[in-house]
Amino acid sequence: METTPNLHVAETDVPERVGRQQLVGLEDAELVAQYLAGQRFAFQELVGRYQDRLLNFIYRTIGDRDRAEDLVQETFVRVYRHLHRFDPTKKFSTWIYTIASNLAKNELRNRSRNPLVLFQAIKKNWEADHRPLEFEDNTYSPDDLFRKRHLREKVEAAVAELPEHHRVVFVLRELEGKTYEEISDITGVTLGTVKSRLNRARNRFAQIIAPMLD
């Protein structure tokens, strides 16, 4: 079996499996099977489906876009390495989100132990507060734009204030629209714990942003 991880191969290299055009209509588990059967484009299709979703999930969880992209890369590398171990009876999205979630949690733990990284994050936020306004839309006055951007930043900061294990559940539910069962599988906690963490995260989020939105 050809296993070269070529994500930009020529059309003529496609083996006698499902054609490249047909991959778009396949389920994730079927794509995994196709890749293991020698269809190299199947992995590229999986990357295309998940790269932005995972990037936003990790970015909203750790708050650092560049680092989030590195962690998405790491997620795909781990998926690639262990693709043969994937259980096709399970959901592929749950599996890949579990890997991404664990990487994000490790990143947050490492940051909390590393004062230099913490300082860089603070510096980055300070720079964001002091950058010039971008007048991207003329229909809004500068005051409106400032208020809108200010609100967005505060909302983002409110999410960042949530405790790590609450934040992961909050992002998975509110941004990714995962079910409780999926969140339970991804985070490895019981359904009751998922519900409890989500409720606490929502309450805390509402408490933080209430003064800004009234």
């Binding site: 932005d52 990037l55 890369q73 590398v77 909302v155 509110e174 509402a206």
Partner: protein, 194 residues
């Protein structure tokens, strides 16, 4: 609705708000929550703030992977492949080494049995005349000349120009009667009394 009842229901509303928001309640319970929302300004505000905050948060610009994301990933996957191949080769090398070692061990284990099984031929004894030479102190030697012994290996007193036994410890046997004083001599001291 009395104040106590509102307070109680407000706590219940907040505690179980996730069930309400995610539509996990029965129709009767849902009706109770909606009824409470109509009556309670505080809980209405809570729901309004949360909904607006979530809308704002979801409206944040969506991050997209940078243009070099795929090439970088491809590069990393090539490394994964290379590492896999190297690891396979290493495993094959280790397996071959283990196999060779096993064969060697088996050979060594079976060697005595094989030797025992071999035919032993008794040869007649052959008498050989050995030319015997004598060294200066009168001891016979098989060598024509005494073998060269370096100064550091030579016995003391033979290579140095000093009387034999000068730097050697004189042996003093332990006597039966412990009453006699212990005879102490410095190493190398000559016993003048003898």
């Amino acid at each position: 609705m009395t104040t106590d009842a509102v307070t109680m229901v407000c706590k219940e509303f907040i505690d179980r708000y996730t069930d309400y928001r995610d539509e996990l309640l029965s129709s009767d319970e849902r009706a109770r929550f909606e009824e409470h929302l109509e009556d309670c300004e505080s809980c209405r505000r809570y729901e309004r703030v949360l909904s607006r905050g979530l809308t704002l948060w979801r409206g944040l610009p969506v991050a997209s992977a940078s243009p070099d994301f795929l090439p970088r990933l491809q590069h990393r996957l090539y490394h994964v492949e290379d590492a896999g191949k190297l690891s396979t080769r290493r495993h094959l090398g280790s397996a071959a080494l283990v196999a060779v070692a096993s064969v060697g061990l088996l050979a060594v284990t079976w060697m005595p049995f094989a030797a025992r099984a071999s035919i032993e031929v008794e040869l007649p004894a052959v008498a050989v005349e050995v030319p015997v030479t004598f060294v200066a102190d009168g001891q016979p030697s098989l060598f024509e000349e005494p073998p060269y012994v370096g100064p550091f290996l030579a016995p003391l007193g033979t290579t140095l120009d000093e009387p034999a036994g000068l730097f050697t410890t004189n042996y003093v046997p332990i006597r039966g009667d412990s009453t006699s004083p212990t005879e102490l001599r410095r190493t190398g001291q000559l016993d003048e009394s003898r």
